[in-house]
């Protein structure tokens, strides 16, 4: 029972990381209507930025994370401006998606050239060792607790931002009807840039937490978690912020439990199987809305 609880907690922790990544996906998908395939690689960029600041340059972890957020923000916004924006009116969702795949490859291979293919061993950004409960039988690591707390905080701040500020309202408007939002005087380009900025900065946070929990960093660190986080975003209902949170945690728990109780080889297959089932049974996800093409 206690070991189950242990697995459950590490599932929630992994899921919280997925949730933070999924938030970036879901906001970008909801507002820019594109699948930013490179989003997972922003996590990796964040990871290397923190690694460089914290370990190579010996900076404070907190400052390192802030710098990484800045780096990811710049890369996210820059990518949007250079690679995605020119294709926004191309009328083909394939064009943007393929370009995003190109960006993903570009980031991975840049990292490969700069940092090499050898894994870097990452030092946790959380120095607290955590809690020991039930007479030593239940140990919860500090990074696990921090991850869960941080993701909840991110969720609350984002909810407030989207529903309580002018910029957030503009995001909601653009996500519902870009044309109408333009007519209402909303600067769509500005709103999309802001969305990319927030999503990318969050990817740096996710990178810090991911590399602290699983301390090896390679150019491909972000790719798989990125794809899984997209699965989480779809599971929760793409475009929905609380949905991304729920989807992330559900997916993290399922992955850890499947890895423990079924097969470590098959846990990824099970995670992807969930995506297939969700899209077949309820393509809008747990909290998503339905959209129909206009004729």
């Amino acid at each position: 029972m206690l070991s189950f609880l242990n697995y459950l907690i590490s599932g929630i922790s992994l899921g919280s990381i997925y949730a933070i990544i999924a938030l970036g996906y879901t906001m970008v998908y909801g507002i820019a209507k594109m699948l930013n395939f490179a989003h997972g690689d922003f996590i990796m960029v964040g990871g290397y930025a923190i690694f460089t600041c914290m370990i190579t340059l010996g900076m404070n972890p907190f400052v390192s994370i802030l710098i990484a957020m800045g780096v990811c923000l710049l890369i996210g916004v820059g990518t949007e401006k250079i690679a995605y924006k020119p294709l926004r009116e191309a009328g083909s969702p394939l064009a943007v998606l393929i370009t995003a795949i190109g960006v993903s490859y570009l980031l991975e291979n840049l990292a490969l050239l700069i940092f090499g293919s050898n894994p870097k061993s990452f030092t946790s950004v959380v120095s607290w060792s955590g809690l020991t409960l039930a007479g030593g039988q239940l140990r919860i690591q500090g990074v696990t607790i921090v991850t869960i707390v941080v993701s909840l905080a991110v969720l609350l701040v984002l909810q407030w931002f989207v529903h309580g500020t002018r910029e957030g309202q503009a995001m909601l408007a653009v996500s519902q009807d870009r044309g109408a939002a333009t007519l209402m005087g909303i600067n769509v380009n500005h709103t999309i840039t802001l969305t990319f900025a927030i999503g990318s900065a969050l990817a740096a946070v996710a990178g810090a937490l991911l590399c602290s929990a699983y301390p090896t960093l390679t150019p491909y660190t972000g790719a798989m978690p990125g794809i899984k986080a997209f699965v989480a975003a779809v599971l929760g209902g793409i475009g929905s912020i609380p949905g991304a949170m729920i989807g992330g945690i559900v997916l993290g728990v399922i992955e850890i439990l499947a890895r423990t109780y079924i097969s470590s080889q098959l846990s990824d297959a099970i995670v992807f199987g969930i995506l297939v089932v969700v899209l077949l049974v309820k393509p809008t996800g747990i909290l998503g809305k339905n959209i129909q093409e206009k004729v």
Binding site: L97, G102, L106, V231, Q265
Partner: protein, 351 residues
């Protein structure tokens, strides 16, 4: 136009055959390093998958990131057959049958996966094909399969779990995969398969069924309004595309000693690499895929200095090509330049 496309596809066959002839002559003359000889079959099967994927991306207009999965089932099913028949059938019968089995199994998977996947479109379709590709790879990677006098045994945990009799044989040994597939494939056979794949793909494009598939790509709603059965034709395109990928998988498994369902062979990254070939060869341009796959595969292998920068260069070129071909600003600019050229040279700008 009709004449032009016909001659273009004929040219493709001629060039492929010429390349084959030159390679054979060089090989006979001993002018090919063993390193280069080892690259010939892989370069050809990448060209074949690229042709298959281009049917999906360029003709059907849907992005699949799971074609490595179809290669994977084609490779595994044909390998099992060839091993089983190794001492029963001569290679001249065994390999064509293995090829047909690999193609049929890949087509079957294309059909089964197509049922759910083709109800989606765009980004969702892409990500779900990726999911299916990974599911196939993971399952085959975890599968232990053996046979003894009592029949087939399968397990997802370990070899021990199979409980094989002493006389039993391991067929698929989990992550260790299948070993001992007869190496029936060679460059000439690979070229023949490539020619057949090209023939099928180019014929399909210039047919009633191909037009129906392309009409869905160009405008699904309009296609429906003129009585095109969307589900039927999407499925046709997808299955043909998967079947061609399966054929490449058969070549792959019959040209290596150990077949493993590892990420480096069948992961989504392989699907993406093939997508790079398709995009750089020109989406919808079947012969372009062959050229791009061959050149982009061989070049970095031959120019060592290039190989560490290879993916970096590809990714930059990929982004540039997409922007140049698709961005409305770039398109307008090209139209303008074309108009100016027409004016200057008085040539007629055609489709």
């Amino acid at each position: 136009m009709k004449k032009k496309t016909l001659s273009k596809s004929t040219w493709t066959y001629i060039v492929v055959i010429l390349v084959w002839a030159v390679v054979m002559i060089l090989q006979q003359a001993g002018a090919l390093s063993s390193h280069l000889q080892g690259l010939l079959v892989p370069a050809t099967y990448y060209a074949i998958v690229a042709v298959g994927l281009n049917i999906c991306v360029g003709i059907l207009g849907e992005l699949s990131l799971g074609h490595a999965g179809f290669m994977c089932v084609g490779a595994f099913s044909s390998s099992l057959f060839s091993i089983a028949m190794q001492n029963t059938l001569p290679v001249g019968i065994r390999f064509p049958l293995a090829m047909l089995i690999g193609i049929a199994v890949a087509a079957l998977f294309g059909f089964l996966i197509g049922i759910p996947v083709l109800r989606l479109n765009g980004d969702y379709l892409a990500i779900v094909t990726l999911a299916f590709g990974e599911i196939i790879k993971n399952i085959l990677n975890a599968l232990y399969l053996g046979v003894d006098s009592k029949g087939l045994h399968a397990s997802f945990t370990s070899q021990m779990d199979l409980g094989l009799e002493a006389d039993g044989t391991m067929l698929i040994n989990g992550p260790m995969g299948i070993s001992g597939t007869p190496r029936d494939a060679n460059f000439t056979i690979a070229i023949v398969i490539l020619l057949i794949a090209l023939f099928v793909a180019q014929n399909l494009v210039n047919s009633r069924d191909g037009r129906a598939i392309m009409s869905i790509r160009d405008n699904r709603i309009a296609a429906e309004s003129v009585g095109i059965n969307i589900t039927h034709y999407k499925m046709l395109g997808f299955v043909v595309s998967a079947a061609i990928a399966g054929a490449a998988g058969v070549l792959f498994s019959h040209s290596i000693s150990t077949l493993q369902a590892g990420s480096q062979y069948f992961g989504y990254n392989v699907s993406i690499l093939i997508l790079v070939y398709v995009v750089l060869g020109g989406i919808g341009n079947i012969s372009g895929s062959v050229l791009a796959a061959a050149v982009l595969y061989l070049l970095p292998e031959l120019l060592r200095a290039l190989s560490s920068y290879r993916m970096l260069i590809y990714s930059i070129v990929l982004i540039a090509v997409m922007l140049f071909n698709w961005a409305p600003a770039a398109r307008n600019w090209r139209t303008k330049v074309a108009a100016r050229l027409t004016k200057t040279f008085g040539r007629k700008e055609r489709a």
